[in-house]
Amino acid sequence: MGAMFRSEEMALCQLFIQPEAAYTSVSELGEAGSVQFRDLNPDVNAFQRKFVNEVRRCDEMERKLRYIEAEVHKDGVHIPAVKEAPRAPNPREIIDLEAHLEKTENEILELSHNAVNLKQNYLELTELRHVLEKTEAFFTAQEEIGMDSLTKSLISDETGQQAATRGRLGFVAGVVQRERVPAFERMLWRISRGNVFLRRAELDKPLEDPATGNEIYKTVFVAFFQGEQLKSRIKKVCTGFHASLYPCPPSNTERQDMVKGVRTRLEDLNMVLNQTRDHRQRVLASVAKELTSWTIMVRKMKAIYHTLNLFNMDVTKKCLIGECWVPTADLPNVQKALADGSNACGSSIPSFLNCIETDEEPPTFNRTNKFTRGFQNLIDAYGVASYRECNPALYTIITFPFLFAVMFGDLGHGCIMAMFGGWMVVKEVSLAAKKSNNEIWNIFFAGRYIILLMGCFSMYTGLVYNDIFSKSLNIFGSSWHIPYDNHTLAENGALTLDPKDAYTEVPYFIGIDPIWQSADNKIIFLNSYKMKLSIIFGVIHMIFGVCMSVVNYNFFKRRYSIFLEFLPQIVFLALLFLYMVFMMFFKWIAYSTKNDELAYTQGCAPSVLILFINMMLFSKNVPEEGCKEFMFDAQSDIQRVFVFIALLCIPVMLLGKPLYLLATKKNNPKPEHSNGSVNQGIELQEQTDLGDVQPKPEAKSSGGHDHEDEPFSEIMIHQAIHTIEYVLSTISHTASYLRLWALSLAHAELSEVLWNMVLTFGLKDHNYVGAIKLYVAFCFWALFTLAILVMMEGLSAFLHTLRLHWVEFMSKFYAGLGYIFQPFCFKTILEQEENKDD
């Protein structure tokens, strides 16, 4: 069978692994990514599992790695991406890695701590220097004021006097944040009752706060006061406002010395700070190279230990037992992975794999490549297929873009869409490498093949609809010519071409004739054509869906369903709706303006819809003069027969299967059910090699209801619901397909409106002003085309096509009750972790 025809065969396997080889074996299995483990300890607490300590160690290592990564990011060191993910480390490497991480973390912590201390010192010294420099100005001013009254020759007396005067005035000098200065001033004023004199000078450059690294603007202040009590009060206020106080020597010489000393200390400190920074950079740079691969290794380790926690420890045989689902096609890979794991560990006793039989429903696994994955996702979004049921995704690859194109049909817009999809496909490697966080872009990129196919099919349907940006192409010459002469044309403002005179016998080569684009009554013609088209494709799509159920019935050995369910369903659908499709084709062929017989000319052409309704209601229509009610002789008899047979199908659908099951249940004894279970200490089967693998899980119990166990009333009710649903859905789904007509009409009309209202504005003038107008008009036209017609209509048609597939097509045969296969695969685990990080 082809790859995507149905989901793959799965086998439930037991793994027997030696404890020492367990880690490496699971690591190999994770790299292979083909098994889904089952939890054999479901009622055990997460903290009581066997490998919980190891998981804790991994968590601790992850924490250290996160810290280191944060520090590396803080300094802006570039972390190079790793090309190939490294394998999980073996136990010896784990210990080394742990020690290395511990050492690095401690080193970085120490460096940070030291850096903070140094910066604190630096800040204090810088502030002290600023204080000394600024207060220089204050004190010299003070001295000048003080010196006014005294002559300069009396220096010794002055110093004594000044010392006396200055001795009475105390001061504190310090630095405070600029924002707090007004409040600080006010507080000082209040506590001193106005007896404090504050002088301040703002610092131009902001200073770096050592803890946070923020730059803060500060102000130097000197507060002059008298008395000790005031001094203590002022000091309290300063502490309250987080102002740092610095001892400032009163005399000039002492200040100069201090300034020099501070300057030298600052230079030394600067040097030390730079060296510390360099050292930190070096450490971080060396760590950054390994960071990604360490992170990956630790994540893989954690995944392995979580998986090992799912295993069961067999005390008597002293080995770990695990249960997993494996696709049968991948069994050799799994065997090889187990062998590699044992070899890597150097264990003498090999691990082996044992397939067991079970009645449980296995997970559904469809092997997809980058092209088919998008379509499979569309189907899985509705419901994952039951085990080994027919996979509708295979047909969706073409029917989805095609039905989209019927609704979107425009050569120009399809071209835009195809180019967008084509660009994404051609550049997919480079675009996938830039991992984006934008959800919308990720969705578009994941559906690039779908978009490309939709664009290509839209170009084809646009060609057939003869619609390119609401204009038609006349490549092959129109089939209509003008039969009128000058005089008739001059007299009448508008004329309708009669097919009898104006139509050459041959239709336009591809698609709709270009003359219709300019016609006033274009919609009347197109409506008739597109409605018939929608019903034709709808009925065929639904018949295809019903036929898919045969494949399922055949595979699951429910052949009675083919006669009791499929046959009445298809007969009902075909005799009524395929007959309607036949009537449409017949009307296209039989009725013409050039027929000799009056009954087959355009005046007498019956409406297919009215004929259908009359058929269902057994009513008659009185035809017009000279016309016939029916399209061909014996049509009324055929119709009556068809309707009777279709009505007879309904009780067959309703009662056939339940009665059959009732009859067979009485005759056959209940078949035995056997469950493959994991018992501790059971004797292991002899088969260990692939040749003797037990047969796959019984297909009869999967893919549908287990009828043997249901009471008759349940079966009957299910069948009644199913029958009513089917019968009603034949008419409602057929009508639902008319959305193909509706959306294509809307698209064509929007396109035409946009052209007539926007672009013609720029096309009417033929002078230079017209050129500018055209430039502006084209800008708007292009914008609206992209936003409304391509994006909005595209999304709308996509949604409706999806609905048509999910409801109208898949409800005819799809069960969709399975669960998806989620293998233990490092690639997916790493991707998930990365997405969580971002």
Binding site: G2, A3, M4, F5, L394, Y395, I397, I398, T399, F402, Y460, V464, Y465, N474, G477, S479, H481, I482, D485, N486, H487, L489, A490, N492, G493, A494, L495, T496, L497, D498, P499, A502, Y503, E505, V506, P507, Y508, F509, I510, G511, I512, D513, I515, W516, S518, A519, D520, N521, F525, Y529, L533, F537, I540, F585, W588, I589, S592, T593, K594, Q602
Partner: protein, 87 residues
């Protein structure tokens, strides 16, 4: 019945080649079945789509209604002359 055999043959042969001949030459590999289904479905749907458009126009029951300016313009540009009679 207004039809010409040429387009019918051309298109049927074209899509017949795509849908019947090409699947025989699908490259062997795990995706052979998928490629065959894709080709067959493409050919079937596209051929049927073209056929419906063709058959809907074979025997038109109404004709286009055009303004006289359009009619004159069509006759000049699409090369079918109108009779130049005076009343």
């Amino acid at each position: 019945m207004g039809y010409s055999l040429i387009p019918i043959f051309v298109f049927s042969i074209l899509w017949g080649v795509v849908g019947i001949i090409c699947p025989i030459f699908a490259p062997k590999g795990p995706n052979r079945g998928i490629i065959q289904v894709v080709l067959i479905l493409t050919a079937a749907t596209c051929w049927l789509f073209w056929l419906c458009a063709y058959m809907a126009q074979m025997n038109p029951l109404i004709g286009p209604r055009l303004s006289n300016e359009t009619l004159i313009w069509i006759s000049r540009t699409w090369g079918n002359k109108i009779n130049n009679t005076q009343a």
